[in-house]
């Protein structure tokens, strides 16, 4: 079911939502960094930027998630669960971000092991996504089967700016329908013409994305490329920081560690980790199957476009292009996989 909502009413909707839930939306700070931050008023929403500097991933899959608190004392050990997640709205993310939740969600429910922390959080999160009008030079979402500037996978509500200041609002999931139903005063029913306007919007937006990769071809080339000499030189500029993986909407690797406050209290924490980190695979005792920076670099691309496809039938990438922009040495993920041999 499709509705219309004006920009004015979007702000009113935000004002209402802020009273009830934690609302995260792109916010600009003094250093011009646009990040998903908790809104205290609808005017803080910064809708001008296409992409935030980091993804909304960290609102559901926290960079450091406290699993539980541990108390050790004479009578034994007690394990106390962390706080329950609160009702959350992620507003104004882009289709590529939203699709990231879908991809990570599958992983966290994989192989009979259900990750309680992710599942609980995503269940309490409503994602309101806004279609992209103008891509950046780094965008390549249309290379993916599901990727598109108006893609709805992962979103609960998708807003599309079909004519100046008027947004077509589509409810994708039950959560989305509930959100629109609860706030029906801000929405009007959309006409056939409005829905057709979105088709035009889609065609135009997709046309603007210059780069389109043949990912089936990439996969075919990657499969035998493990020993390729290509990796010997392509990794040279890489400085092996984790910027690319930490700004990625789909990178999910993590580490589980303990933070001890004193001899009694500690917390078990899960934090993001990255295959670019040397410690990622270093075993106690010093043996490390991926000592070489080349191997770590290769792992990132192999995992995203080859191994993950084997297991999940989709790439571990949504084409947001953040890694290209965040990379201190401007390594272009598109170029790396395209030129593979």
């Amino acid at each position: 079911m499709a509705y219309l909502i004006t920009k004015e009413n979007i702000k009113n909707l935000l004002t209402d939502l802020i009273k009830l839930k934690a609302v995260f939306a792109p916010k600009k700070d003094a250093e011009d960094t646009v990040l998903f931050g908790k809104l205290s008023s609808s005017s803080e929403w910064h809708g001008d930027a296409l992409l935030t500097h980091t993804t909304a991933k960290d609102k559901v899959y926290l960079q450091s998630e406290t699993f539980f608190k541990i108390k050790r004392n004479k009578s034994g050990v007690t394990i106390e669960d962390g706080p329950e997640p609160e009702e959350t709205v992620i507003f104004g993310c882009r289709p590529c971000d939203a699709r990231g939740f879908d991809i990570i969600g599958k992983l966290f429910n994989w192989s009979n092991f259900v990750d309680e922390y992710y599942t609980k959080r995503i269940a309490k999160t409503t994602i309101i996504c806004i279609s992209c009008e103008k891509p950046e030079s780094t965008c390549f979402c249309t290379s993916f089967t599901k990727g598109s500037p108006v893609n709805e996978t992962g979103s609960d509500v998708l807003l599309t700016n079909i004519k100046d200041g008027k947004y077509l609002a589509e409810s994708i999931t039950d959560k989305g329908r509930k959100l629109i139903g609860d706030n029906s005063k801000y929405f009007t029913e959309a006409s056939k013409a409005d829905e057709e306007a979105k088709v035009t919007f889609k065609a135009e937006a997709e046309k603007k994305i210059a780069k389109k990769l043949d990912l089936a071809e990439v996969k075919r080339k990657l499969e035998p490329a493990f020993e390729s000499v290509y990796w010997d030189t392509v990794h040279l500029p890489c400085v092996k920081c984790g910027a690319c993986t930490f700004v990625c909407p789909t990178c999910y690797c993590f580490d589980i560690t303990e933070k001890a406050f004193d001899n009694i209290n500690s917390v078990r924490v899960r934090s993001w980790d990255t295959c670019m980190n040397e410690l990622f695979t270093r075993m106690a005792g010093g043996v490390n199957p991926r000592t070489d920076t080349k191997k770590r670099f290769r792992q990132r691309f192999m995992h995203k476009f080859n191994y993950h496809v084997d297991n999940f039938k989709e790439e571990l990438c949504t084409g947001c292009g953040r890694c290209i922009k965040a990379c201190p040495v401007s390594i272009d993920i598109r170029k790396v996989i395209e030129e593979i041999r």
Binding site: L107, S111, F113, E116, K120, C253
Partner: protein, 276 residues
């Protein structure tokens, strides 16, 4: 909602036994009697041991399902967590979650000869399949254990050997890289000794665990002896954190060692890129 997969069961250290200079064996008992009843594993699987205040690490079960009064682990001191474990005394509370991973396919090996080849603390990972085969000895033919360590002092499970040897059709071959006074067994590296004793591959399975360099040469030796890749089984060591196929670090090709392993045949390993 189902049980939280990251939450450990509490367990008590029942017994600590010093095996060598840097290896200690532990017996743990789960505190909750209900969990104790349902907690079961198969030889080859591993668990995650949780030292509260320090962190988690992965260990294989040292005892098989046929001797499941306690949960046993043998642990070498190598890092932050294992150092903390070595400080533990009987009565200490730890956490255990698991079991994870696959196991040795003993049901497929009925009626075969079993050849165990272990180096160093690798014997800890093979103790459970060894003892399982000894407890169900009638199902198998000859059981040969070839075990090497750096020096006679580094041999662990010394006091178990006499019991093992009592089981019919069981032979233990010990070797040390460097001998010492009073050492009555072989001297030399495991692959060299393997060549000397010359075992027949007919109707046999070789089960290996040890440092990578040993595995590499033992593999070569076994293939020379005529073992097929399907007849060689090893258990891989890899840095793991979650044990659930999620954290990503034990990913090799589309395999997650913790979920799809750690027990692999050499035929399977050959298909994987050299990154483990």
């Amino acid at each position: 909602m189902a049980e939280n997969i990251y939450k450990p069961h509490l367990a008590k250290v029942v017994e600590v036994k010093v095996e060598t200079v840097d290896i200690k064996s532990y017996k743990f008992e789960l505190l909750d009697p209900g969990v104790r009843k349902t907690f079961s594993w198969k030889a080859g699987q591993f668990l995650i041991l949780d030292i509260f205040g320090v962190g988690e690490t992965i260990f294989t079960f040292a005892n098989p399902q046929t001797r499941n009064e306690f949960i046993e682990c043998s642990i070498r001191k190598v890092g932050q967590v294992t150092e903390a474990i070595h400080e533990l005394e009987a009565g200490a509370i730890v956490g255990i979650r698991g079991p994870y991973g696959n196991w040795f396919p003993f049901d497929k090996w009925q009626g075969k000869n079993l050849l165990y080849i272990a180096g160093g603390v690798g014997l800890a990972a093979l103790r459970s399949p060894i003892e399982f085969a000894l407890d169900t000895f009638k199902d198998f033919k000859k059981k040969t254990i070839l075990y090497g360590a750096r020096s006679p002092l580094d041999i662990c499970y010394k006091d178990r050997f006499s019991d093992w040897e009592k089981v019919p059709d069981t032979e233990i071959i010990l070797t040390a890289d460097k001998g010492a006074e009073g050492w009555k067994h072989k001297v030399g590296f495991v692959p060299t000794v393997l060549k000397e004793v010359h075992l027949s591959p007919a109707d046999s399975v070789a089960i290996i665990c040890g440092p990578p360099i040993m595995i590499k040469f033992v593999l070569k030796e076994l293939l020379d002896l005529g073992f097929t890749p399907e007849q060689i089984v090893t258990t891989l060591e890899m840095r793991m954190k979650c044990g659930l196929g999620k954290c990503g670090r034990c990913n090799v090709k589309n395999i997650y060692i913790c979920k799809d392993g750690p027990v692999f045949t050499y035929a399977q390993l050959k298909e994987l890129p050299d990154e483990y």
